[in-house]
């Protein structure tokens, strides 16, 4: 058959970006200082970050000129991207490395001054206010250059220079591209209880909690900022006036992340999605004494997936009441979340917790009793195994609660395992479409074999002294029993017998067929 002539379709923005990033990684693979994606991604991130910042500044500068107002650039020459990176035959090799990493060096324009990283780390906002410069400084405090070859670094810079962050279409696709990059990096992570939340789950939680402009949103274990970016995108749709847009930009979203790489990625991720000065706290969320957290630190919305089964040092535990200390980080975070929600119906939260939290006794039971008595735990979504693949197979649950008062009935929803498979996996992950039925059920709360109601207060078991002994939230779907085989042994044998006789009949026919003279 004649081959159809080959047509080379013009590349879309996504494809072009994809190929740029691919070649950048190919170049970095040759560098001896980098081992694996976990090393390569930070390099790519800080280079992209500077390029992006420069494009953004140029855009703002043009706008300011048109409006006739003054514009102060966050980064001064000769440290701007356009000064040292944009020329593809600019400084390279050892000179480039010294310019980037040295404390003091000869700058490309011939003068003496601090190196690029040293300069960026020293940036401060004007008049003590927090602005983009502080973000840049915090980001670069966590960045070190690991590349050993300045020539390879120049090649990477030249590639990134071809991305134009100022066209809105590229901005949009870059966000998507960045997520795929993050996903690839995550495959190398997954240690120390960091289980990055699948996109479908994040989106579902944000949509159900529905944060609105004017509210404050917090993720105390924000990782690479999945919940915050999703919440930002969700809230950006409501920003229909300049005032509301400003409100969204200033202080509506906050995150806390103790690890430096996710912290850097979260900053970048939020910037790319359009939040200009993300407020990410680079410390341990649990470092404050629980009782000292007051109304000022409280927020309207908390969306988070706290680390499961991580461990905290003893000093951190002393921030918690004597009878609420535990090695399980999820339990500590649950207490923090309860403490940081605005009271009197003003606060609501959606939290991912492992199964163990639901049936745990002792400290876990006391924390759950608090949750039931002081908060309205209205919904629990039970997710099947493998949702967090490939990090863990632990089955998880989504808890939805608010501060409208003590818990009454708790609505449970059991998300079934995927059709025809035992569990979700890395290659066949949970999709948003899988949660469509759940979303439909959410508002109506109608009858469904996957949903059931449990009376909350009656779950608290106390001993004679009034101490909480157990709070078992690990409740099985009562409707699922119907699926069990309730036949008697005799009936089962009968059914098997019928089938075996059919097998015999089929074998008989087979004998008939093979004995046909023509072919046998």
């Amino acid at each position: 058959m004649a081959r159809a002539p080959k047509t080379t379709a013009p590349q879309t923005t996504a494809q072009r970006l994809d190929s740029i990033v691919k070649s950048a990684r190919k170049i970095m693979r040759k560098d001896k200082g980098l081992n694996g994606d976990l090393d390569r991604l930070p390099v790519l991130t800080w280079i992209m970050f500077l390029k992006f910042l420069d494009d953004l500044e140029r855009m703002h500068q043009d706008e300011a000129e048109l409006a006739g107002s003054a514009f102060a650039s966050a980064i001064e020459p000769p440290y701007r991207w356009r000064d040292w990176a944009a020329d593809k035959d600019g400084i390279t090799g050892p000179d480039l490395l010294t310019f980037i990493t040295a404390e003091k060096t000869t700058l490309p324009d011939g003068s003496e001054g601090p190196g690029l990283f040293a300069y960026l780390r020293a940036l401060r906002g004007t008049n003590g206010g927090r602005d983009r410069r502080d973000v840049i400084a915090t980001v670069f405090r966590g960045v070190t250059n690991r590349m050993e070859s300045g020539y390879l670094l120049r090649d990477v810079i030249n590639l990134i220079n071809a991305i134009h962050f100022d066209s809105s279409e590229e901005m949009h696709t870059l966000g998507r591209l960045y997520e795929t990059l993050l996903r690839e990096m995550r495959d190398a992570a997954g240690d120390s209880g960091e289980f990055y939340t699948p996109r479908a789950v994040v989106r579902f939680m944000v949509e159900r909690i529905n944060p609105t402009i004017g509210e404050t949103v917090l993720d105390p274990a924000c990782g690479t900022g999945g919940f915050l970016t999703e919440a930002f995108t969700h809230m950006a749709l409501q920003a229909d006036t300049v005032e509301r847009r400003n409100q969204l930009q200033s202080g509506s979203l906050a995150g806390i992340e103790a690890k430096s790489l996710p912290f850097l990625l979260a900053q970048m991720n939020l910037l790319l999605h359009g939040l200009e000065a993300p407020e990410i706290d680079p410390g341990n969320a649990l470092r404050f004494r629980l009782t000292e957290i007051g109304e000022r630190e409280r927020v309207n919305v908390i969306l988070t997936n706290p680390p499961f089964g991580g461990e905290e040092e003893a000093g951190i535990l002393s921030n918690f009441p004597d009878d609420r200390r535990t090695a399980e980080t999820t339990q500590l975070f649950l207490q923090l979340i309860m403490r940081r929600l605005k009271r009197k119906g003003q606060g609501r939260a959606a939290v991912v917790v492992p199964h163990g939290t639901l049936f745990g006794t002792g400290v876990a039971a006391r924390i759950k009793a608090d949750l039931l008595e002081k908060f309205n735990l209205h919904t629990i979504v039970r997710l099947p195994e493998g949702v967090f693949a490939p990090y863990t197979d632990i089955a998880a649950n989504l808890l939805f609660f608010d501060t409208t008062g003590p818990t009454g009935p708790i609505a449970y929803w059991e998300q079934p395992a995927p059709n025809g498979r035992r569990k979700y996996s890395k290659t066949a992950p949970l999709q948003s479409a899988d949660l469509a039925d759940l979303s439909a059920w959410w508002d109506t709360r109608g009858e469904d074999p996957r949903a059931w109601l449990v009376d909350g207060p009656s779950l608290i078991e106390r001993d004679a002294g009034g101490q909480v002994v157990a709070v078992n939230l690990d409740i099985k779907n009562p409707n699922a029993k119907a699926a069990e085989d309730h036949r008697t042994p005799a009936e089962i044998v009968e059914a098997a017998f019928t089938k075996e006789s059919e097998v015999l009949a089929l074998l008989d026919e087979l004998r008939e067929l093979v004995s046909q003279q023509a072919f046998a």
Partner: protein, 371 residues
């Protein structure tokens, strides 16, 4: 349970030069098994616990997943770590075999689950809580009767299972013999002539949802990978799949990823890695052709046409595939063989249904006995 089971720890110092048998507890009530025989020096711990026949051994970590059982005679003297406490069964109160059966029930696993505590990934059975639970215990005579009945049923099911496996392999041997007969003096024709590679390019409509198929390795057939909106494809080229297409996954054909498109796959799409061959229906039955590629001879031809050395480079060449020659007996003979195949398939499928019923038998019996 504390009255029935006595903790028994026989701690021994390991001799680095001696060989020890190690015990593993299989999940979901399947009991204990030999994990392996290793030198004392290969065991990290200096001391281990020795178990003896008829002791009840439970895995602290996986008790909530049904990992426990009675030590069988062949594991007498094997060693376990501290995470596997051993118990002597009180001979006046219970038979070890009876305990072994009780341990296979769902509610026993539930007991272990409720007696476990700890944070994520460190959940362990608490011995004291476990021993505080109670189980029903009839007299030893009754226990013996129950054990006999269950043992017999289990033996019968196992024997039937072996017979069923033997029957399947006999049927498969019949197929091979019949196939060898009819191709014995059949002419050979190249794939390019009788079943050429046919690609039907899809013009992707961004608004349409496509069913994308893939091929499973080891002749496990075609499956629907996913449903994708046209706009979500970026670089992929797609091709239509029709019923009767013989589909090779060019990457995994060396691992027997070959399948035959059924009626349910018509109208689905495959990416450029799915090589679709359409048999000339006047001379070749697709079913027959597919059977050829599942035989050793056919697979050898596929391997020859996949020339790469490394696993991921072993792609089936679109140039070599049309050169593979296949036996082409008379169409009548092919159709006769097809009807043989479909009967054999039906027999196997029906037998699998019977097996599925019988798999429910032991749980049902346990449920009847222990309620």
């Amino acid at each position: 349970m504390g009255e029935l089971l006595w903790p028994n720890t026989d701690r021994i110092q390991l001799d680095p030069d001696q060989t020890y048998a190690q015990v593993t507890a299989r999940l979901w009530g399947k009991g204990l098994a030999l994990r392996g025989r290793v030198k004392g020096s290969e065991i990290a711990a200096a001391q281990q616990n020795r178990v003896s026949t008829n002791q009840f051994v439970i895995s602290k970590i996986d008790a909530r997943h049904g990992a426990f059982g009675i030590v069988p005679a062949e594991l007498d003297g094997a060693v376990v770590s501290n995470d596997f406490p051993a118990f002597n069964v009180d001979p006046d109160k219970a038979l070890p075999e009876f305990v072994a059966w009780v341990a296979r029930t769902g509610w026993f696993i539930a007991i272990c689950k409720s007696a476990s505590e700890g944070s994520t990934n460190r959940v362990r059975l608490k011995e004291s809580r476990f021993l505080a639970q109670s189980i029903p215990l009839p007299t030893t005579t009754e226990q013996q009767a129950i054990v006999n009945r269950l043992d017999q049923a289990a033996a019968a099911i196992a024997a039937r299972g072996n017979a069923a496996t033997a029957m399947v392999s006999e049927v498969e041997a019949t197929m091979r013999a019949a196939f060898a007969r009819i191709i014995a003096d059949a002419p050979r024709v190249t794939m390019g002539e009788i079943a050429p590679l046919v690609r039907r390019p899809v013009v992707i409509d961004p608004a349409q949802v496509y069913r994308e198929i893939g091929v499973r390795s080891f002749y496990r057939g075609l499956f629907e990978r996913r449903q994708v909106l046209g706009s979500d494809f970026d670089w992929q080229k797609l091709f239509w799949v029709e019923q009767g297409d013989l589909v090779f996954s060019n990457l995994m054909a060396w691992e027997q990823a070959t399948g035959l498109a059924q009626s349910s796959h018509a109208g689905a799409v495959g990416n450029h890695r799915m090589l679709t061959c359409q048999a000339d229906s006047s001379r070749m039955s697709p079913e027959f052709l597919y059977y050829y590629f599942t035989t050793e001879d056919g697979h050898r031809e596929v391997l020859k046409a996949s020339p790469g050395t490394m696993v991921r480079n072993k792609t089936l060449s679109t140039k070599l595939l049309p050169k593979i020659s296949v036996p082409v007996p008379s169409l009548d003979a092919q159709l006769w063989f097809d009807s043989l195949q479909s009967k054999a398939r039906a027999a196997k499928a029906t037998q699998a249904e019977a097996t599925a019923h019988l798999d429910q038998l032991l749980p049902a019996l346990l449920n009847e006995v222990f309620g």
